[in-house]
Amino acid sequence: MSKEVIEQVVTYLTPNVPIVPISQGAEAFVFTTNVHPYNASACKTAGDIPVKYIIKYRPPKKYRHPSIDKTLTKHRTLSESRILAKLSQVPGLHVPKLIACDVYNGCIWIEFIGEDLPESHGFSNLKNFLWMYKTDPYNIAVEKVLFKVGEQIGLLHWNDYCHGDLTTSNLVLHQENGDWSPYLIDFGLGSASTLVEDKGVDLYVLERAIISTHSKFADKYNEWILMGFKSVYENEGKKGQQKLKDVIKRFEEVRLRGRKRSMLG
């Protein structure tokens, strides 16, 4: 991870906010911290485990003109925050809570979701979870989780939002009363969209992700996810049925053409 960027973040956050880098994407760096940005009392209330927060930082990109960079950083930080804020109000949909956002520096603070899986299977995202069950791939626990994953995506789409980058690492499992409950994270490419195309692509991207990481059991896995997805729409009566038909039809079309349109030279 680029040292320079970390220095930038440390200067910006001041030494009062110690950070631990956890990942670097093309657009953003992700850190964890134990310090709440403004509500000091929130850090103390979590019993023995220190509460963690995620800081997502979009560093300035030197290759582009400063004025383009500023507008983009601001726009994207704001739009990601907005989506998170809106989605956290959808009943039943699980997304991490937005805590703070500084659009001028491209920084957002989010609630930390997830934990470490038992027996050093890594962080509790869907990818590692499925790997953990690779010796018992059709366990009822897996089916339950994947069904819930489908429900989450169904809820997202039913409310006319799209994720834009659905991969197995962007689904994080959080334990609630002994049950795993999937959370959608990273809405960096997310958008509010009523287009069936966007929804179809979302489903296709996740299907591809499942196939590429767990190809042997992918058919069953994708079937479970789709079952969950459909259940959300089917609960919405006739209108839901119609919309579901449209989305699934488009999903199959997208799958046929492999996401990409045929293009003229």
Partner: protein, 154 residues
């Protein structure tokens, strides 16, 4: 005096107090704008998180010279509002006729000493600014009205 710090802004601190049954609301209302602190109607604030997230937001805007109101203290009130309408924010979150409980909030430099008598002008019973106390004072109907576009309250 209760004093809160915002980790990212280490040169600043927040003095904040909650007053119950304030008797000189009219006097305070006439002085709004001249007092060195923000006066907020406690019936619009349900918890500390809500209050401090607004302070944090105002501080960010202040740091980058993007204040939309005249001063940091008024910006704190505006930041409580889900809209960017300044007049409406003051009407809703500022003190008004019938206000009984208030929150006084001042953002001060770390080493400023005059803070102890800062809120002396308020004639009311000072109580701890805790989620519990705030929870007993706030008006759910009011919050619903303010945040009407948000799905969750429909």
């Amino acid at each position: 005096m209760p004093y809160e710090s915002i980790p990212q802004f280490d040169t600043r601190g927040v003095c904040v107090s909650l007053f119950r049954d304030v008797k000189n609301i009219e006097e305070l209302r006439s002085k709004v704008g001249t007092m060195p602190f923000a006066v907020i109607d406690a019936s619009c604030v349900c918890c500390r998180e809500q209050l401090f997230s607004a302070v944090y937001k105002a501080l960010i805007e202040w740091k980058y010279n993007r204040l939309r109101t005249k001063a940091l203290h008024s910006e704190c009130i505006l930041s409580l509002s889900p809209t960017s309408n300044i007049g409406e924010a003051f009407r809703r979150f500022g003190i008004k006729e019938g206000t009984r409980n208030i929150i006084c909030l001042a953002v001060v430099g770390k080493n400023e000493t005059q803070t102890s008598e800062l809120f002396d002008v308020v004639d009311g019973e000072e109580v701890e600014l805790s989620d519990e106390n705030l929870g007993s004072m706030f008006d759910l109907e009011m919050i619903k009205k303010v945040c009407w576009p948000l799905k969750v309250f429909q």
